[in-house]
């Protein structure tokens, strides 16, 4: 999995300078946020649904081994093949091997964060296999060599004029309209032929049901349905945390997910399949169970709740940081608040030490999370872990020193007097200079409250 190439503050500074990006983002996140608000508020039992979703995920993680073995047995019994992948390389190798065995030099893909996480397209390209993205937004990014900036709306940072110009250069020479309908039609024409001729389809998964071996995908465009039903061979990759104990649990999650993600009561396409069925859909099904750092996350008692995530992206749309910087600033396929706690845990805190600090701890993410991931608490936990490996000596000394001043009444009073001098300055020195870059200081009070009392 890709590690952030630079620190969050540095990446954020660059993204903030892009006014077009901020306008696109704001408009898009506002729209989805308002839709979510409306459809969530119409359910009286929303909090009970969140509790049920959270409880199911706690159960899955507490008994993961058992559920995984149950899932494997059920998939195998219904005619599918299960592969266990410790890391990205093992998962990619399975897909390449399946494609090569069928003589396929290309595969059609539906949108999948998990395949982005393992950089499947690059791995397949190295084997001479071309992976075509069939989700509208993913196609846009692939055509332009760009990468996703939002979990649900990967091309949220692009507007339709930019997309029209891109299509004119690539799949639809001569297109002049930037109407959504015409852009969609251009993509449809391009993709339809590929669906019909593909030998191998590749998908991720929203849920895997341990009880039955059923795989579930929810989507909006129908391209996923085509990827999973038209090619004779299907490879589905799912993270090991995607399991649900029973088929009945889908009742909860199919309410939580669409309302939280697209702000719809129900998503347009819900596909469920169990193994293979002669004469209906793929003849050969491969299921890859991916670890890639997840068992390491599971070992952390506080941090493991990040594995509850169902990738709805509600936390991105309400995040005041994400809505200013966009997803690229997070340097990972998992952006926003969930990315700030998931990425450092999946790849190791030392590789993304600034991400847990990319939050003002406002708590809006926790409030909307459909499976009640307490993101602020996990952020605090990861900040402590980041400091253990990465904090500068000067910062550590400053905090230790501040702690010492705060543990004695006289020392604390002396520090307050010192702070009052600081408040008189127009520009603060050293690391505090960032404060006065955009804010004036209020001037110093004559006496502290303590001095008034004493």
């Amino acid at each position: 999995m890709r590690s952030p190439a630079e620190s969050f503050p540095a990446a954020a500074r660059r993204e903030l300078a892009d006014v077009q990006l901020r306008t696109n983002l704001r408009r898009a996140t506002d729209t989805i946020r308002d839709k979510r608000e409306r459809v969530v508020s119409e359910l009286d039992d929303w909090q009970a649904l969140r509790d049920a979703g959270s409880a199911a995920k706690v159960d899955v993680l507490a008994n993961l081994e058992e559920y995984l073995l149950q899932f494997e047995a059920a998939v195998t019994a219904s005619g599918g093949h299960v592969h266990w992948a410790r890391d990205a390389a093992e998962a990619c190798a399975v897909v390449a091997e399946v494609a090569q065995r069928h003589g396929a030099d290309s595969v059609v893909k539906m949108k999948s964060l998990t395949t982005d996480e393992i950089e499947l397209n690059d791995a397949l390209a190295r084997e001479g296999i071309d992976a075509l993205e069939t989700d509208f937004a993913e196609l846009i990014l692939q055509l332009d060599g760009d990468w996703p900036s939002h979990i649900l709306v990967p091309a949220i940072h692009r507007n339709r004029t930019e997309i029209r110009d891109l299509f004119a250069r690539t799949i639809a020479p001569g297109i002049v309209s930037d109407e959504p309908r015409d852009l969609a039609e251009a993509a449809r024409r391009y993709l339809r032929e590929r669906f019909l001729s593909a030998q191998v389809g590749v998908s991720g998964a929203n849920f895997g049901v341990a009880e039955t071996g059923t795989i579930c995908i929810v989507e909006s465009e129908g391209n996923g349905r085509m990827c999973t039903t038209l090619p004779p061979v299907l490879v589905t990759i799912l993270g090991i945390e995607k399991l649900l104990p029973t088929f009945a649990d889908l009742e909860v999650f199919l309410q939580l997910l669409p309302r939280s993600s697209t702000g719809e009561r129900m998503n347009p396409y819900t596909s469920l399949w169990t193994g293979v069925t002669p004469g209906d859909g793929p003849e050969e099904l491969h299921v890859v169970l991916l670890d890639n750092g997840r068992t390491r996350v599971l070992a952390d008692e506080v941090g493991r709740q990040a594995l509850h995530c169902i990738r709805c992206s509600a936390c991105l749309n309400v995040c005041p940081v994400y809505s200013r910087t966009g997803g690229h600033a997070y340097g990972s396929v998992y952006p926003g608040p969930i990315g700030a706690i998931l990425t450092p845990q999946l790849i190791g805190i030392e590789k993304a030490p600034t991400l847990p600090f990319a939050s003002s701890l406002c708590g809006a993410c926790y409030e909307v999370c459909p499976v009640k991931i307490d993101i602020p608490t996990v952020l605090l936990h990861l900040r402590a872990r980041a400091n253990e490996v990465k904090a500068g000596r000067l910062e550590q000394l400053a905090f230790r020193g501040a702690g010492w001043f705060m543990r004695g009444r006289r020392r604390f009073a002396a520090a307050e007097r010192l702070a009052r001098i600081g408040l008189r300055l127009r520009r603060l020195p050293g690391p505090l200079a960032a404060w006065t870059s955009s804010r004036d200081l209020p001037g110093a009070p004559e006496k502290s409250f303590r001095e008034t009392v004493e």
């Binding site: 003002s360 004695g408 404060w435 804010r439 006496k447 303590r450």
Partner: protein, 219 residues
């Protein structure tokens, strides 16, 4: 740092007939350390808090983020348990929910924007308490701030570690406050007010920051 809010808190509580004590051994609740990833230092300050305040019937503070730290995070993030933690209240919450008072007999003839700080909204969960108090202040005109519930961008050390993002959030917040034509912006946290006030001043805006306690103490 913000003596006016402390003095005003005492004024309001005494006006309502309550005895107020300021335990001089108190220092800092440790929020900064906890939020910045130094839980061991925070724990030592939390233990000190319990030592100093352990015997009181009620502990009242005009800072919702400090109250949230003590009441919610000492247990949730530091694993500290003590009966006094449940008796720590943010001022407006104490007045409205504990004392059943929503009119403190204050007068403040100005246009006021209320900023619901993130910690008062989502950690300390003060609900309608501050608004009920403000609506009963004589002469006060309460205005609605667009996107009121969005963070101002302070976030403790976030404001310097991620100064650019923090400033972008602050700019939007200040613009929203200016749009209301308010004379004052009030809130339950001195730190957010320091940030917002600093931003308003830098923009040359006429709106000034003021702590809710100061409004309630005015007459």
């Amino acid at each position: 740092m913000f003596p006016a809010a402390g003095k005003a808190t005492v004024t309001v509580l005494e006006r309502l007939g309550h005895g107020v004590d300021f335990p001089k051994e108190q220092t800092c609740c440790g929020q900064m350390h906890l939020n910045s990833g130094y839980p061991d230092d925070a724990r030592r300050l939390a233990e000190r808090f319990v030592d100093v305040f352990g015997e009181y019937d009620a502990v009242v503070s005009p800072s919702s983020s400090c109250v949230g730290t003590v009441r919610e995070l000492y247990r949730g993030a530091l694993g500290l348990e003590h009966p006094v933690l449940g008796k720590v209240f943010e001022l407006s919450q104490f007045l409205v929910d504990e004392l059943g008072v929503d009119d403190v007999g204050a007068a403040f003839p100005h246009r006021v924007a209320y900023h619901p700080t993130c910690h008062s909204l989502r950690l300390t969960r003060v609900g309608e308490a501050p608004l009920r108090l403000l609506r009963n202040v004589e002469g006060l005109e309460l205005v609605d701030v667009p996107r009121a519930e969005e963070c101002c961008g302070f976030g403790g050390t976030f404001s310097s570690k991620n100064a650019d993002v923090s400033s972008a959030m602050l700019a939007d917040k200040c613009a929203a406050i200016e749009e209301t034509g308010a004379d004052y912006c009030t809130a339950l946290d001195g730190s957010c007010l320091l940030h917002i006030g600093g931003g308003l001043s830098r923009r040359g805006a006429s709106a000034r920051p003021i702590h809710l306690a100061e409004i309630l103490a005015s007459r």
